[in-house]
């Protein structure tokens, strides 16, 4: 079995240890949406307009809040070193981490996005399709770019806010294009432009960042 599959299986297993943790991403989104709604004027009818931003920012936050720990536990207990000396390629492990992170936070969000968007008054039909397509491209990007930043900061003592500060500028384009596509579709305009751009970013980061993250992790041993 390759390092990729091993890692995905391992992460899912750890998550499954605590069944309730699987419910946390949807719960988290529901709470974020509620908070947004509360932060705005009570009973604001214009929630539909902000629906794309709310969903995208929610996805970004869920990614951010879980990224900090992506590699830390493995570094602290020595597993990361075992992976790097094993015959299998460590890039597989890194990719597995990214995939598991997406499965555990990105995918639940994607499944929940449609009902939440409708709840907020976002139009169903084609606009919803574009919104979901954007999230389908964008949530893996959050995991990959965020995971790269997590690898960069893993050996830093007080990464705390450094990670988000690194990630946010990197991911700002993703959020802007993603919610831009949904807003364009909402307004009846063509939304394919931003989606192509997201797809391009996804391919680009999928080909480069796993290697960059692996290199970052390797230098974390010293």
């Amino acid at each position: 079995m390759s390092a990729f599959l091993v890692t995905v299986a391992r992460e899912l297993r750890i998550a499954a240890r605590n069944k309730a943790s699987l419910l946390m991403p949807p719960l988290f989104f529901a709470i974020v949406v509620t908070l947004f709604a509360l932060g705005g004027k009570p009973g604001d009818p214009q929630l539909a307009a902000v629906a794309p931003s709310v969903l995208w920012v929610g996805a970004l936050l869920a990614a951010l809040l879980t990224l900090d720990r992506l590699f830390r536990g493995d570094l602290d207990d020595g597993w990361l070193e075992q992976v790097f000396i094993a015959p299998a390629s460590p890039v597989g492990m890194v990719l597995g981490k990214f995939a598991a992170h997406w499965l555990l936070t990105g995918l639940p969000l994607l499944l929940l996005a449609a009902p939440l968007a409708l709840q907020l008054g976002f139009p169903s039909g084609a606009p919803l399709g574009w919104l979901l397509l954007g999230l389908l491209m964008g949530t893996p990007l959050l995991s990959i770019v965020g995971g790269f930043a997590a690898a960069l900061t893993v050996s830093l003592p007080r990464a705390g806010l450094l990670l988000p500060v690194l990630v946010l500028p990197l991911l700002a384009p993703v959020v802007i294009f993603g919610s831009g596509a949904a807003r364009a579709a909402q307004a009846g305009l063509d939304a394919s432009g931003p989606i192509y751009f997201l797809a391009f970013l996804l391919v680009l980061s999928l080909t480069l960042l796993p290697w960059a993250a692996t290199a970052a992790l390797r230098s974390a041993f010293d």
Partner: protein, 244 residues
């Protein structure tokens, strides 16, 4: 009285006590709920404004009332568990959370169904509704926390603390209709003194309210029994019980 209480607080005697009481509670709850719901849904007159839509009140109000009462009960159990370290109170916390969450969800769903004809929307972000949603999240938080711990005692302690701290939300739900100008209707039925509702409508409502309380009590006893069994699975009396 005190000794009786102490004896009851020991897991085996509680277990037997619950075994004896729960069926009676179940029967009483069934009768009251049966009467309340039947009378409310078929016999009571139509509301002059709302027509038949108002009948959802017979589910909504008991569910909403229990969502608050159960949280309060959970917080009180939390205080008891932390101060007197009574095992039964620890069991009560984790036993009450899912029941409370269910009633809260029921209150939300019936409220939403009612909201559509009354306010023209399933959901509006108003103070009462939102704080009730927050209540649901708090319940789910307690459940999640409980599930996350391996050790049952540690889980109960953490849940107790969270339940107590989350109790600030209860008065917010209760008085949100007065503190904010809410769409939701103000307290009339559950106010002490003169209810502003005709007896034909009110009596079935009170019946189903009481029935819901008894139902929740029965569920709480049963869940507590489960929790006790889980915690004491190595104890002699549980072994005897399961051997039979």
């Amino acid at each position: 009285m005190w000794t009786w209480f102490h004896r009851l607080a020991s897991p085996p005697s509680f277990y037997r006590f619950a075994d004896r009481v729960a069926p009676w509670l179940a029967v009483a709850a069934l009768l009251l709920l049966g009467y309340g719901l039947f009378a409310g849904l078929w016999i009571a007159p139509k509301d002059y404004q709302q027509g038949d839509a108002f009948r959802i009140i017979y589910v909504h109000v008991p569910a909403a009332a229990l969502s608050l009462s159960l949280y309060t009960g959970m917080a009180i159990a939390g205080v008891v568990a932390l101060i007197w370290r009574i095992k039964l109170a620890e069991c009560a916390i984790v036993a009450l959370a899912p029941i409370g969450a269910s009633f809260t969800a029921l209150a939300l769903v019936t409220g939403m169904l009612w909201g559509k004809p009354m306010w023209g929307a399933y959901w509006v972000w108003d103070a009462r509704l939102t704080s009730e949603l927050v209540l649901l999240f708090l319940y789910l938080g307690v459940i999640g926390l409980d599930q996350a711990f391996l050790d049952r005692r540690a889980a109960a302690r953490a849940c107790a603390l969270l339940a107590i701290v989350g109790a600030v939300n209860v008065p917010i739900v209760k008085y949100s209709v007065e503190w904010w100008n809410s769409l939701h209707q103000a307290s009339t039925i559950l106010k002490f003194g003169k209810p502003t509702i005709t007896a034909e409508m009110a009596i079935p409502l009170y019946a189903s309210l009481l029935g819901a309380y008894l139902l929740a009590g029965m569920a709480a006893l049963r869940r507590m029994q489960n929790e006790v069994l889980l915690r004491e699975r190595r104890a002699g009396w549980v072994r005897e019980l399961t051997a039979v």
